[in-house]
Amino acid sequence: MSTMQAAKLLELENIGKHFGGLAALSDVSLSVRQGDIYALIGPNGAGKTTLFNVITGIYRPDSGSFSLAGAPMAGKKPSEMARSGIARTFQNIRLFANMSALENVMVGRHCRTKSGVLGAIFNGARTKLEEKAIRERAASLLDYVGIGNHAHMLAKNLSYGDQRRLEIARALATEPRLLALDEPAAGMNHAETDSLKSLLERIREDGTTLLLIEHDMKLVMNLCDRLAVLNFGKLIAEGTPEEVSGNPLVVEAYLGVQ
């Protein structure tokens, strides 16, 4: 954790999102520094996943704006978000169940490669080289997350923990600047959570900024540099783990009024 002024990667300004009369997000502003592990916490229904859906382009915010490395992003389509450098995983795992682990990761390479129909039909040398590079990069990402020996298994046949790792590998294949992880440790035991923690730390060391939604407080407090607390769609606290855990509003949101 450096005390130097690190560059801001993701900046959210007054983001609002309503569903009918329900304010899922109101006036949320926060910024994530380049190279940080940033956590988003809050009770169920606080708006965390909605915020993920906004920054990955699934939802268009009703108000406010956000930027990635200074470039305005609000209103872009999901595929453009991915190309700009935002990738994500899902709370309920959403792999391509009937494709192999390797093929799942290869889909993630799609937006960084370009050979098209003509190349595929005429199968030129450039296309062959590119296809080979995609395959090799995907295989090395599977090794990176520790499931290289399962490359040819169908995604649906992988164990739960390995499916979570595969989702991370697939997201990394898009070469994200910001990797958004929605409850990566959900359903994991202590040992699995520990090894996930070291994987996430390694991803950060290798240059990717992490934004995660997580309910495992021990993991959050040990892993992240800063965190934000959402409750009923509003940001109620933001800061380092120490600052946030001492905040009376946070204690109230989690434990109820005493």
């Binding site: 382009g57 699934i58 994500r88 009937n98 494709m99 093929e103 290869m106 050979s115 995609i134």
Partner: protein, 307 residues
């Protein structure tokens, strides 16, 4: 036995054509859950464009096979463009509409194409000239003609190419991903719209070739030839398991062979009560029986998995 072998040959030829058309239905269904009822009419367009080019070149003195090749090479891009436009104009605006809406526009597009073809090429049956050598070769008591060989070989090559494209290439990978989950594919940077466009374009290219084959084989082309052919190919796709590529190939071949056997044996089997003109009834009867026992088709384990 000779009848059996001959009907098998005829059935495989017919089935190869069905399979090419069925692939167009199944590719589109696999990727967006839509039955593109205008697909049969794209086949008709392939035949008509080929025929128009053939007429244009009739006085040129070029050898027949070359004229046929030029004709189909003109039909392929014409059909690709048509398929692309159909999706852009008739289906894309309805992407998030209830499922019945694009089904109705599909029927509308089908009628539109038929009527346009009628205006351009008339209501008459047009005869397709004999461009390929009429030679036949004996195989074990039956015979196979040159054009039959061409149809079987070229459709096998195209199907092998399509399998390779879908299974082994970057594009095919993105197509399969999009068919399993378009939303997640988009989040991974796949441009779902262009994948859908490409799917229509590929299906339409296969349709163009099938259209040329069917009109050259039967020596005839007509503005509504796409209707019954499309219906048969759709049946083949359902028989094999719609959305499944191997299913469309197997379903197409099987339907062709069943129909052909029906034509060859129905008369004998029913003591003359039903002639070969009942072959369609027989084919659809088989479809119904298969669907009773395997509602998702022969290879169609994937149905019902889409959200």
């Amino acid at each position: 036995m000779e009848i059996f072998l001959q009907q098998l040959v005829n059935g495989v030829v017919l089935g190869s054509i069905y399979a090419l058309v069925a692939l167009g239905y199944t590719l589109v269904y696999g990727i967006m859950g839509l039955i593109n009822f205008a697909h049969g009419d794209v086949v008709m367009l392939g035949a008509m464009v080929t025929l128009a080019v053939v007429h244009l070149l009739s006085g040129s003195g070029l050898p027949g096979p070359m004229v046929a090749a030029i004709g189909v090479l003109a039909a392929i891009p014409a059909c690709m463009m048509t398929g692309f436009l159909i999706e852009r104009i008739a289906y894309r605006p309805l992407r998030s509409a209830p499922r019945l809406a694009p089904l109705i526009t599909a029927i509308g597009v089908s009628m539109l194409l038929q009527n346009l073809a009628m205006m351009v090429w008339g209501r008459e049956y047009l005869s397709f000239p004999q461009l390929l050598p009429a030679a036949t070769y004996p195989i074990g008591g039956a015979s196979i003609s040159f054009i039959q060989i061409i149809i079987i070989v070229s459709s096998s090559l195209m199907m092998a190419g399509l399998s390779y494209l879908v299974k082994k290439t970057r594009l095919g990978n993105a197509m399969r991903a999009t068919s399993q989950n378009p939303e997640v594919s988009a989040l991974l940077g796949v441009n779902v719209n262009s994948i859908i466009s490409v799917t229509f374009i590929i299906g339409s290219a296969l349709a163009a070739v099938a259209g040329m084959m069917v009109s050259a084989y039967y020596g005839i082309a007509h503005y509504d030839m796409g209707f019954i052919l499309g219906l048969k190919a759709f049946t083949a796709a359902v028989l094999g398991g719609i959305g499944n590529i191997e299913g469309a190939m197997v379903g197409g071949l099987l339907l062709g062979v069943i129909e052909s056997m029906g034509a060859g044996y129905l008369g004998t089997l029913t003591g003359g009560a039903m002639g070969s003109n009942y072959q369609d009834v027989f084919a659809f009867f088989v479809l119904i029986v298969v669907l009773i026992f395997r509602p998702s088709g022969l290879l169609g384990e994937r149905i019902g998995e889409r959200p």
